[in-house]
Amino acid sequence: MITSIWAGLTTGSIYTLIAIGYNITLTTAGVLNFAFANIVMVGAFVAVTGIAMGLPIWLIFIVAAVVGALVATAEERVAVRFLPKGQHAELITTIGASTVLIGATALIWGSTAQRVELFPQNPISLFGGQVAPNGLILLAAALIFGLGLHLFNTRTKYGLASLAHAADREATMLRGINVRWLSIIAFAASGAFAGLIGPLVGMSTTATPFIAITLAIKGFIALYCGGVGSQAGAVIGGLGIGVIEALANLLIGPNYGDFAVFAVFLAILLIRPQGLIGTRMLRSV
C-alpha cells in the first residue's frame, strides 16, 4: 500500500510540475498553454537522443532546457502573439500547437515509447514501501519549484510585474514595463522549465508523443483543484490527485484511478469552483 502511495506521489509530482508550468504563463502572460506537457515530452526525447549520443547528464539537462525554451518561444511568436480576444482562441491554438508537437516528435523520434535511462533505477525502501529514486527526485522537484516560484512571484520585482500584468495589463504598461517582453520571457521560461523536467518525467513515463495529452489534462485538473494561479495549490492539487488515483487503482480496481480523479474534479467544480487554495476563478471565456 505504501508503495502505491509512493507511486501516487510520483505521478502526482508530474501533475504538479505541469500545473506549475501552466501557472508560469498564466500569471505572467495570461495564457494557459495546453502544449506545455508536449514540451516536457520534447525534453524527454532530447534526453533519449542525448543518452544515445553518450552526453554527460548535466549537458543533457541543459540542452533539453534550451530546446524547450526555443520551442516555447516559437509557439508564443507564432500561435499566441496574434490571439484575438476571447472565444476560446487560445484553447484552440494551444491545442493546435500540441498537435503539431505530437506529429513533429513522432516524425523525428518515432511513435513508439522509448525508455529514458539517465541513471539506474534501483528501488529504495522507504517508510515500508518501495520507490524508484526518480520518484523521489520528481517529488523534490515539485516541492522545490513550487516553493521557488511562489517566492519568485511574491518577492522579486519580476514576479511582482507578472502579478500586476495578470491583474491589469494596461496599468502595468503605464508603470514602464514592457509587457510584450514579459509575455515572451514567460513562455521561454516555461519552456526551459518544461525541457528541464522532461528527462525526469520521461524516466517515469517513457518518452511517448501521445502521453502528453493525458498529462496535459490531468495537469489542468491538478491546477484547477488546487486553485488556478497558486503554486502552493499546484503542489497540493497535483500530489493529492496522484495519490487518490494510485489508491483507487489499488483498493477499488485497475481503471478506477481515472474515475476517482474525475469524481474529485467534478466535486470541486460543483462545491468549490475556485479551487482549494485559489481565490481567482479562471476567466470564463
Binding site: 520585482k157 511582482l160 510585474a161 502579478l163 500586476a164 491583474a167 491589469d168 494596461e170 496599468a171 502595468t172 504598461m173 503605464l174 508603470r175 514602464g176 514595463i177 514592457n178 509587457v179 510584450r180
Partner: protein, 254 residues
C-alpha cells in the same frame, strides 16, 4: 519658457474610429493645463494618445521637443510621462508598498535614491505611510486616488497626465487632491488635468481647452476676466443649442 510637452493637431481614436480631431496645446513645467468637456467629448482619449495607449492618427506629441508618437507606452513612461488613469486605478490585490514598488520598476538609482523616493511618497501622502502593508483594494476612495497619484510619481516624471481625479470623491477629499496637485505644480511638475468639473479646473489651471465631440470649442488662459463665462458657454454651448433644437423639434412634432 520651453514647453515640456507639445501636442500639435492631434487626431486619435480607437481602431478605425476617430474620436478626437485637431487638438493642440503646449504645457510648461510648473503649470497646469486643463482639458474640459462633457462625457464622451474625447478628453480621456486625448490623454491616452499622449501616453501611447491609443494610436496617434494625425498630428504629433512632442516631449521636450522630441516626437514620441511612435513610442510604446512603456517607453514614454520611461522618458518621463506619467499617467494617472481615471477610476482610482491601482492594483487592488497588492499592498500599498508593492504598488509603490511597481511604480519604481524602471527607476534607475542607488539604494539610497530609491529609499528617498519612498520617503518622499510617504511624506507627501501621509495617509499611505500608516498603511504600508494594507491591501490597496481595502483603502478608501480618496486614499486609493492618492496611491494612484503617488504610484505615477514614483519615477519622477516631468509630465503628469491626470484623468478626472475628483470623480466619485467627497468634496472634502477633492480639496485635498486639489492641494496636492497645486503643490506638485509649484515644485515644477507639468500637469495635464482632465476634468468634468469646471470648478476644479479653474482652481489650479492656467490654461484651459474645452472639448466637445472631439473638437476644440474654447482654448485660452483662465485668468482673463471674461474667461470663466466663455468657458461655461463653450462647455454648455452645445447643450444650449441642443435645447433650442429640442424646442423646435418638439414644436414640429406637435
Amino acid at each position: 519658457m520651453e514647453p515640456i510637452l507639445e501636442v500639435t493637431n492631434l487626431a486619435t481614436g480607437y481602431g478605425d474610429l476617430r474620436a478626437v480631431w485637431d487638438v493642440s496645446f503646449t504645457l510648461e513645467a510648473g503649470s497646469v493645463f486643463a482639458l474640459l468637456g462633457r462625457n464622451g467629448a474625447g478628453k480621456t482619449t486625448t490623454l491616452r494618445a499622449i501616453s501611447g495607449l491609443n494610436p496617434v492618427q494625425g498630428g504629433d506629441v512632442l516631449l521636450r521637443g522630441q516626437s514620441v508618437k511612435s513610442l510604446q507606452p512603456y517607453e514614454r513612461v520611461r522618458r518621463g510621462i506619467g499617467f494617472v488613469q481615471e477610476g482610482k486605478k491601482i492594483f487592488p490585490d497588492l499592498s500599498v508598498e508593492k504598488n509603490l514598488r511597481l511604480g519604481l520598476f524602471t527607476f534607475r538609482g542607488s539604494r539610497s535614491e530609491v529609499n528617498e523616493r519612498y520617503e518622499w511618497a510617504y511624506e507627501t501622502f501621509p495617509a499611505l505611510a500608516t498603511r504600508k502593508t494594507r491591501q490597496a483594494g481595502l483603502l478608501s476612495g480618496g486614499q486609493q486616488q492618492m496611491l494612484a497619484i503617488a504610484q505615477a510619481l514614483m519615477p519622477q516624471p516631468d509630465v503628469l497626465l491626470v484623468d478626472e481625479p475628483s470623480a466619485g470623491l467627497a468634496p472634502a477629499i477633492v480639496g485635498d487632491v486639489v492641494d496636492i496637485l497645486r503643490r506638485l505644480r509649484d515644485s515644477g511638475l507639468g500637469i495635464v488635468l482632465v476634468e468634468q468639473s469646471v470648478d476644479f479646473a479653474l482652481a489650479i489651471a492656467a490654461k484651459v481647452t474645452v472639448l466637445d465631440m472631439g473638437r476644440v470649442t474654447f482654448a485660452g488662459a483662465t485668468d482673463t476676466p471674461g474667461a470663466p463665462d466663455a468657458i461655461r458657454t463653450a462647455y454648455m454651448g452645445e447643450i444650449l443649442e441642443l435645447a433650442e433644437a429640442e424646442r423646435r423639434g418638439a414644436a414640429l412634432a406637435e
